[in-house]
Structure formats: C-alpha cells, structure tokens
Symmetry: C3
Subunit: 514 residues, 3 copies
C-alpha cells in the first residue's frame, strides 16, 4: 500500500526540499509522483537540456524511503514548441487552433509533437529510470485528444473508414445517408466531422470511437518507449479521469495497454458525503459532478473492472479541489472515509493532488495538503493519521479484492450515442442533457448502493455470465452479439435489469426495426 501525493519541487517559491521531505516522513507518506509538468523546466529552449535538478529531489525522497512514480512530461508542451510548430495545436470543430496558455492543447498524433516528446521522454528515462526510488512510471496525464480536428487526424479517420467499410455504399447503408440527401458518391464526398456541421448519429459515434482510439494508441506508443527503460520491478500506469471519464478516451482500452490502471478521483465533500444524502444541504456543484459516497465506490469499481485487478488512486482531494470560488475542505473524518472506501474496493495507492498549494498559475486555489503558508494544518494532520494507520495495517489492506453482489454493464458506445441523441433534459430547463447516459447509469448504481449491494463494473468484452444480477442501464448502442449474450444470460437464470432505451440501437447508433 502506497500513500502520498504529487510533489512539484519545481513549483516551490523557495528551496525547501529537506523541510518538505521531513514533513512527508513525519506524516508517514510513502510515495510521491514527480515529473508530469517539467518539460519546459528541463528543456527551456529547443535542444537545451537541464535535467540535473531532479536528482537531489529523488535522492531526498529515497533517503526518506519514499517511493516515486516518475511521470513523463508530455501533456504540457513548452512555449518554444508551440512557437516553432503552431500546426500541432489542437484544431477544434470550428477549425480554430487552440491557443497556447493552458495544457493538453496539442494534437498528440502530430509527428512534430511526437518527435520532441519522444526525445525529452527518453532523455529523462535514460537518466532517472534506474533511480532506486522509482517504482513505476506514469505515462502522460489524464490523456484525451480534446476532439482534435487537425487535418492529419481527419485524414486518418477517413482512411480508417475505408479500411473498415470498403465502399461508401456500406456507409450510405449503415449511417442511413439517404437522409437529408447526404448520400456519398465517393470517399471525397465525406464532409468534415464534428458537431459544428455533422448531425448524423452513426457518423458521430464512429468519430467518437476514433478519437478514443487515438488516445489509446498514443499511450501504447509511450508505454513501449518506457518499457525500454523500465526494470522488471517497475510498472507503467496512466492516470485516467475517474468515473465516467473523459469523452475522448476509453478507460477500458487504456487499461489494457498499461500494467496497472490509475485514476484521478475528485469528489464532493462536506455534506456531499453524508449518508443518506441530504441533497438540499449539498453545496452547489457543477452539474456533471457525481455527488455522494456511492460515487467513490462507483469510480473504484470502474477502475477495478477495466482489468479486474487492483488499481491506484493517483489524485484525490487534499484541502480542496477546484477554483477560488469552490473550496469545500472535507470535514474531519471524511479523508479517512474516502481513503478506506477506495482501499476497500481494491485501491493499492492513495495519493492526493498535491503536496503543496501553488502560489502561481491557474490552480492557486485547488489547494494541496499544505496550504500556501506551508505550515502543518488540519488536512495534514488528518492525512498523517491515515498514513500511520496504513503503515501499521499494510499487510491486511493491500491487494484487497472487492466483493460484488451485482454487476453493472458499462457501455462506452451508449455513452457516446446518448450524448449525440440525449434522452433526458437538463435539470431545470428544456435543453437536451448530453450526460443522459451518465445520469441513468448513476441512478441505478446509487439505488443498488443504497440497498447495500456491492457492485462490479463489467465491460462488453468481459465475462459477465457468472454474476447473479446484471444491470445494464441505458444500453442504447449494442450489437446483435451482445444482445444475444444478454438473452442467453437471462434464459440461463441470470437476473437482467434493463432500462428504457435498452437494446434500442445497434452498433451504428441506428434504431433497431426488429
């Protein structure tokens, strides 16, 4: 069991490595993640490298017996790369390139990006992979394409359609392109993807799948590079956005290309963790946020389900998560509640984002464990208590296998398809809710959780026949084979719970006619 945080020594406003490590050790922290945003620090100008500064950080952590996940720095590009190659910036559905000034703003399939990303990654791995503190590697960070419409991406998409379908007649058929006179005469007729223009659900579903595929392929490429440097005892992971995840990546597929899946799990706190939930007293939340103890379990069960194996929680709430207008530090005990919930559902690492509150940049008020004044505080003390408990009970808490009374079938395709054709309205207004799949799935999960049923999340390619109860909420987009399996499951005595829109569409997001 590892317990710790992300540590950004390079963000500290003054030198305090020894003091940081001392405070970590006192709180029984056993782990730190480093490196995920250091590209420009390590390569301040093209081809000029400065990476020695990381050695003392790793040495100091090692001296305190703190294990390290070394992250590749590829999700945040330096300004010189943007300046030399503006063509790599993500082109959005409106044909505008994303501006520099944030992060995850590039098309990571672009060869110019890949060239520079590989060079800095190999340099860092060559130097630091052998370090005795390093137990594993994180590739990139919460990766997703951001729905890249760059010309090279669109061209690859068209090629993938050719390879999959052979002729445009096949697309005319499965996408129903007689509708609105969209019938293709040749491949060149295919219009640009993206919701700026395209309104065809079948096309959109394929485009969404393709974006997720690009994400998986990029991470597989990084994994292969890292494996050239990793010792046999070092693992490779990627930290996905927990729960329903990003819309431009597929958690299940990503889990198959790494050794262990990590997830980042920001969650509601304070009255957002009462049980039973008291909705009226919950602070207003962005409407997309899952609120409640059930959500901690759901996210864990998603992560476990992808590989049916233990997983890591690389980022969860320290003092607060979010912006300056959104700071709800947990009540006493809620840090323990969350940590033990994750562990009970199979987590082998609990880590907070991040060690210290940043004094600059966009996330000044996404507070760390230490506040801006670096002094010990309530959060630090609460986490210290957890750290010491975990140290004491390491053996019995590691490698737990979560029980499951019921299984939930998760359908990424249905999530995509219901985002294109939402079946619910947003609460309180008349706009279609792009999160219809999520809301229906959550309602079922919450209900079983309230009934004290532990859950497994299964994915369509996995074995599901062994579960006594199988819940398939909003299973909108499913091929004949999957529906046949579900029929056989039910005929064989399985308890199959479906919802409205269940089995309504096929794998092309067509409504079924029989």
């Amino acid at each position: 069991m590892l317990f710790g945080a992300s540590y950004y020594h390079e963000y500290q406003p003054y030198e305090r490595l020894d003091e940081d490590v001392r405070m970590m050790r006192e709180a029984a922290f056993s782990y730190m993640r480093v490196g995920d945003s250091i590209w420009a620090r390590c390569e301040p100008a093209e081809g000029q490298f400065d990476i020695d500064w990381m050695a003392p950080v790793l040495d100091a952590l090692h001296g305190a017996d703190i294990k390290v996940i070394f992250a590749t720095p590829t999700y945040a590009i330096p300004p010189w790369l943007y300046r030399s190659h503006p063509e790599i910036m993500t082109r959005r559905a409106d044909d505008q390139h994303t501006r520099y000034g944030g992060r995850q703003n590039m098309d990571f399939t672009h060869p110019a990006y890949l060239y520079y990303a590989e060079r800095i990654t190999r340099l860092l791995l060559d130097r630091y992979a052998p370090h005795p503190s390093v137990v594993g590697f994180q590739i990139d960070n919460e990766t997703g394409t951001g729905m890249s419409h760059n010309a090279n991406v669109v061209q690859r998409f068209v090629e993938s359609l050719k390879a999959k379908n052979g002729t445009v007649e096949r697309l005319n058929d499965v996408w129903g392109l007689n509708y609105w006179s969209h019938r293709l005469g040749c491949w060149e007729d295919l219009w640009a993807p993206g919701l700026a223009g395209n309104l065809n659900p079948g096309y959109d579903l394929e485009w969404r799948r393709f974006q997720a595929l690009l994400t998986t392929e990029f991470l597989a490429w990084q994994t292969r590079i890292v494996k050239e440097y990793a010792r046999p005892d070092q693992f490779v992971t990627q930290d996905v956005v927990g729960g329903h995840g990003r819309g431009d990546s597929d958690m299940y597929d990503i889990a198959q290309v790494v050794d262990v899946l990590a997830m980042n799990s920001q969650h509601a706190t304070q009255d957002g963790l009462t049980l039973p939930a008291d909705d009226a007293s919950i602070p207003r939340l962005p409407h997309w946020t899952e609120v409640g103890v059930w959500a901690l379990s759901f996210k864990s069960d998603m992560a476990w389900g992808t590989r049916e194996a233990n997983f890591l929680v690389t980022e969860t709430n320290p003092i607060s998560v979010g912006g300056s207008s959104w700071t709800f530090p947990a009540y006493d005990g809620q840090w323990r509640l969350a940590a033990y919930t994750y562990i009970s559902r199979g987590a082998n690492l609990i880590a907070y984002w991040h060690w210290h509150s940043l004094h600059y940049g966009h996330e000044i008020y996404s507070h760390g464990i230490l506040n801006h004044d670096f002094g010990p505080n309530r959060c630090y003390r609460e986490l210290s208590r957890i750290g010491h408990e975990l140290q004491r009970h390491d053996a019995i808490l590691t490698d737990l296998t979560p029980d499951a009374d019921v299984a939930f079938l998760y359908s990424q395709d249905s999530k995509y398809a219901l985002e294109n054709q939402p079946c619910l309205l947003e609460p309180g207004n008349a706009r279609p809710d792009a999160r219809s799949y999520q809301r229906i799935f959550n309602a079922f999960f919450r209900a079983f959780f309230a009934a004290r049923a532990q859950a497994a999340v299964v994915f369509p390619t996995q074995e599901l026949e062994s579960f006594p109860v199988l819940v398939a909420p909003a299973l909108y987009a499913a091929d004949d084979a999957l529906l046949a399996r579900l029929v056989r499951y039910a005929e064989g005595g399985g308890h199959l719970v479906l919802s409205f829109r269940g089995g309504y569409g096929d794998e092309f997001a067509r409504a079924r006619w029989e």
Copy 2:
C-alpha cells in the same frame, strides 16, 4: 379532403413498399408527400442520375388510390455539390460559412446552386409530373435564407438600396446616420449587415425585409419551373413554418406566388392541449413554442389569411415531434381534436410528418405514425379512425370557410423591428426577448379565443374595413398610410384595439415625433 403523411420510401431499412401501402389503405389514408430529400439518392455524383426507383413507389400509391404531392428536392444538397462549390454554403453574420452535415445550409441565390437545383428538378418533373397519382407539387421545404451574408447577397442588397433610395443622403436621413457618426459619404461606406456589427434599427429592418424577399423570389423562380410541367389540374404549394413562421421568410408573400399555401404545424400535446390551459402541468417547452388549443386556430387563421382561401396542413404531429428528450405522444382523442380544429378553420389536407419513424439521421426520435418496429400502434389506430371519418364525411368537411368575429392585423415589419428593439424581457431573466411581437400578439389572440371569438388574420395590404372588431397588437412599424386607414376605420365606427407600442414607429423603424 386529403389525409395522409410524408412517405420516405428511400429511408426504409428494407423493402416494404407493399406492406406500407397496405397499411396506409387500411387506415384510409388518401395522400402521401414524396421527394423532398432525394437529391443525392437521384444524383449520387454530379451528372449521374438514378431516378427510376421512384416509379414503383408512385405506382403502388396510385394502385391504392393515394394521391401524391411531389416535392422538389432542393432544400437538402448532396455532398458532391458542397465539395465542388463550398462557396455556396450560407455565410453567416460572423463571416463563417455554414458546414455541411445538416440541411438548408446553402445560399439558394447562388448561381452555382441554382444551376444544379434546376437541372435535377427539371429531370424529376419531366419524368414524374405526368404520373396520374400526382395532384400537386411542393416547392422546396420550409424555405428561408438562414440570413445569408454571402458576398453576392450583400452586393444585391446594396444595389436594392440604391434603387430604392437613389442617394446615400436619403439613407442618412431615414436611418438617422448622424447617430454614432455613421453618416455615409458614398455607397461604398455602407458597412456589412447583420447583428455581428450593425446596430442601426432602420438598416436592420431593411435587411430583414430583403432576406424575406430573397426567399419569395427563389420560390417564385421554382414555381415558374414547375408550372412548365404541371397539368392544369395540378397545383403548386410551399409548406411554410406555421404560425409566426421563420424570421427569414414572409408567409404572406410566399402565399402569393403559389396556388395554395401549406403550413407545417408542430404543436404541444398532452396537457398542452387542455382547455382551459393548466399551465403548471404543461411539459416544459422551448420558450418559443405556442402552447394551447388556441395556437392550432391561430396557425390555421394565419394560413387562411394569407390568401383568404383554404390551405393545407402538410406536417403535424404523429407519435411525437422533436428530439429524443422530447417525446410527448398525444393522449387519445387529441389527434382528432387537432385534425378537426384545422379542418374547421379551412384546412383541406391533414398530413403527418411522417409515415414511419426513421432509424438513422438526426430525427430518429421525431417519431412517425409507425414506430421503429413498423407495427400497428395507438397512433396508427387513432389516425385510422380519423381517416375513415374523413372518408365518410368528405363532402361536408372540404372547403370550409372559417367564421370570424374579430380580425387581427399581422405586421411582419413590426415583428422584425421588435426583434431588433425588444420591448419585453425574457420570462425569468433580464434579457430582451427577441420574440416580443409574438408574445404580445399571442396574448391578444389567446384572450379573444378564450372569449370564444373566432378570428381572421389580415395583412396590411388586405381589406380590413369589413370587420366589426380589428385588433392590431404591437403594431410598431407602420407607414402613415396604414395608420390613416386605421383612423378612418375607427372613425367609421370600427372597433379598433391597439396595444402599447402601437403606431409608435414608422416604416423605417424610426420613433415618430408627431
């Protein structure tokens, strides 16, 4: 009296023409509209034509004595046309061209579009106009420019200003261009239209009128072409958006260039049709939707009023209208309520959009009469009842003339002007409501309807002196001649009902000073 639906044989996922026609006949359907989206099906590549497939459709309908309106396919362009001529796509106020992937996305005044649209239209008319099933033609579909800012459109607009005004001094005067230093020194000084930049109400009113004029001219052009092929017993119609209509077309003007006006009338259902209205139980609706039985009458009276003649209802609610999050099938009896309301106000055709629910495309959940499974259902049975009733009572229900206790003066200019300078706030917030004219008009219409007064809608160029009561809600933009007529009307004993903002502006959207 015709009773039927739109029939998209080319959208069917498998061959079922005979079965469809059998079901139509059993339900006493006497009419189908075909052809409005078939361009790409008939011309899958430029100059390659494939139109024979329509013959068996018409033959089968004819065999069941089902009459056909043949629609020209011009509102939805094929992808090859977009690919060869991206310049024809509608240029919006922000100078971006509309993307391909929807429909009604082209500047229909562009010669490149007109060339190809005319060719496919003539080919289809030449072949199918003579078919014995065809009783009439629909030109295009719910036509409007979409506020085209293409260079050719803007240039024509400037030329029309020159022709109308002679000198820029005239515009400086009637648009008040000393304001904010906008005075023109020459025609080249005129800035681009559209709300992205222009804030002058007089300019905007003229620009809105011009867009509607383009729509009418396009439809007049199509009508002339169709007339070359039509038999004397065949009529030409256009299906406008019912009620207050589109903002880029003028229902009254369109009605003058066709033989008979058709309107599409999507309406609220379920508790949206109770009488008296129970607002609290009405499902949330897009705020622009007129809700209530009065709205069925209002839309009918608008359609009648344009020509003071019987009209067609080409598209109204089958199972449901709208997206997946918006499905409110009528209660039993409500289909009859709607149909007989339209008929009582002068409709000679009641048709549903559409025969079968589509399995692909953007409108999968704008359900047809048949659901996705094609089986008989409650809607089919209810409509079948209507069909048989109409068959039985055809003679007494056809060519009805609606009574009118009161007349409403409809002012398209006022609608435009109050969209530019709204006098109401949106319900529940502090934003100006671009639908101020509509809301004021509706409030008066609803009130008279609730008082059991039947209404005629009259337009400014029509005779209005014969009505005992004339209601002119929000008559904001009106020239001196119209105001003088109203004064004479009242002086002659007519009961004239005005509202606030009535008579406030002139035909240039200027506030009057005397």
Copy 3:
C-alpha cells in the same frame, strides 16, 4: 453649479434649435454638452469638412446664457475611416476584428486612427474653442480599449514587459512559469495574451494593467492637444463610467491627466431607490448594476476620491436609461433625490443623457428629458424644478466638500485579479463570478451607508492615515509596501477593517507564502 444635458442638435429630425433653447431656458438649464458623435457629420468623406453648422447651435446656447462643454468627436469613427483602414478595428481575444456598426470599435493606439482623429479634433478646436459659450472640453467619451489585441498593442506590451523585467527569467519567477511547462526561454516564447488562451493570473494582471495604461495615455495625448487651444478659464475633463468603471481603464489614473473628472452615472430608479431597500420589489436588473441610494453615494465618492476634489456628473437618468425592454422612469421626487445626493457628495455639474429622445439608432428607448414628441412632460417639469432651485441656491450648493466618517481603500489590481480568479459564485448558479471584487466592496459600502456613515474612497497612492476607520474590502493584490502601511496604520491606532482574501496575494497575483 451647472445643470443641463447632452444636446444633439445634429440628431434632430427637423429644425427646432430655437424651440429647444427656449425650453432649456424656461427650465433653468445652464449647461449643454455638444459634439461627442459628430465626426462623420463634420467629415462625411475623408478630408471633406463641413463644420459650420455648429456655429448657430453655440450661438443660440450662448444667447440663452447656457454654458457648453465641447466634446472631441473621437469615440465614434466615420464609415470611410473603417473602410480605408479596416486594420484599426479592435482585434479581440479570438483574433477577430470588431465589425463596424457600433462605436468604440477601434484600436485608438493605431497611428492611422490617431492621424485622422487629431486632424478633425484640431479643426474643431481651432474653430470653436474660442467661442464664448465654451467653458470646457470633454476628451473622448467613456474611454477604454475594449481589450485590444491588435498586433501593435501586443508588441508594445511585450516591449513594456522587457523594459519592466529585463529578462524572461524574471517573468518565469514572478509569474511562476514552471507551472504547466510554460517557462520562457526567450521573449519570443511569450504566448498571446487574452483569456482565449492564457490562464496565468500574473500574466493576466499585467495585461489588464497595460490596457488601462493605454487608455490613460490616449487621454493624456488628447488633453495635450486640447490644451493648445484652451483658454486659461477653460477646463478639460473626461467622462468615465461611474462606480467600478470599465474593466479596461483606470478612473484614478485618468483623473490625474485632466483638470476635473466627470462621471456618467446611470442608476436604478423606482423601487430601486427606496430606503431601506426592498429587494423583492426592485425591477430585475442586469446583475452587474449597483442598486440603491448607497450606489449614488458610492459613485460620487469614487469620483471625488480620484482627485480629492469636486467632480462633474455628465450623464445621469432623464426619463429612462437602457433599451426598449428596460424603461423605468423615476417616481416624482427621485430626480431631486439623485441630484441632491450627487451635489451633497461634491458634484458641481448635474447633467442628463440627453436632451431629447432619439428617433433613430440603437438608443431610441434610452429616453431623454423630452420624449419622442418633444412636448413638456413630467420629467421635464421635475427637472425644471431642480433647475430653478439650483439657480436660487447656487452659492451654497457649489464646491461642497463631502464629509467622511470612514474611508474605503479601492484596489484596481484586486478587481483585476479577482476577475481572473473569482472567489464568489454567481448568484443562483455554480459559475465563478467575475464581479467578486465589486460584490464584496459593495457589501461593505452598503453596510456602512446603512449605518449612516459617510465615506471617502481612497486609492493606494493616496494619504490614508488621517481617517479614523479604513475599510479595505477584498484587498487581494497588494505589494509589501502597502501591507506595511496598513500594519503601521493599525498599530498607530487606526481602525482597519479587512475581509477574506485581504492581503492574500502580492502585486503579481501570487498567493503569499508568508
């Protein structure tokens, strides 16, 4: 004490100069502002001048002993200038140039604009500055850059950063550019400003300051030109947006480059002026509007504070302010309430925007003193009463010095910084409120006002030690020197009232670590 309005003779739909002046005199108006939008009227084509028409206007006013502020016409450019130099239009954060059709749509730092603006300004000054009616000049109108991203502006910004910081290492340090790998290797690496891309708070704060600096520099440039023509007895003023002002200008700095500060103060009326405030009955207002009698005092105290001197109110509510959906004429007596409040807080001029309601243009329903029919009305009569009162009591009402029980420290930097990192949510939803500084400041001001405390507003560079109570709401961005002064103030016995976020950040919008 001057009392009057803005007079747009060039907007009148027919000749009525004598009648206007007669009505002004009858109501004891002693002042008119002219000229702020007349550029195109005076230069209808490039280099063609027509300015003689203004002479009879000034003569007539002079004949009635009405004093004139002559405004330079530079805030609204003629269409020919836009047509010849589209490059001068303001380039927004999204790289699009603002369209012509409104006003204040140009980059006023652009030499092409400056060339033409100077020429027309000098021509008008040369002719009319000597006129005996003219007591002062207004430069431009409610000036602000509109956040100009034109290339010349961005380039000047970078040069200013070089001058201020010397090396990029300094920026890497104070903006914390290791964060998200934004570290600069050279000046060319600096990415484009503006919230379209940049998420760095330190960068944003500097960019905001720079925009305000451009505004001040432009006004200083105009002042120097005007001074070449002004008699010693004529003053120069600029009318800023009152209260918290525009986000792209700094009221304090502007006040330092003119002889006297003027402010425009649109305020809520009707139940928005009850005391105590009855929030429930206040008409819905744009959420950014300060509502209540306290706001009249606050705006006055801001204006006074900038120079610790008397000020002018150049634009306040006649019949109504706002659009057609927003007309709330004051109750009887509320015009007096407002006027005497301003006077009691140091105003030496009360003027209404504007004399007559416009019949054209965007602001038809921002009614003047006269309505569209030009007849005497309730507003005219109420103002006439004020006019005569002021005439009678001129001596005792002019040059009043407002008392202050308490001082408020106003921090423009904090306003900017909290707009980037808002600490409040918008009322009723979960979006960060960009007006967090304003809301916190207002809450404190309102509370003291309710407790009958009169207030002074002071700015960081001013003397503040003499006040017994100093309130510094949301003083987020402040350098060490200012915090040290506050400490000394409190240690010296001053009553210092701070709020949350007070002293949290430094002058680079960094969170402090000690």
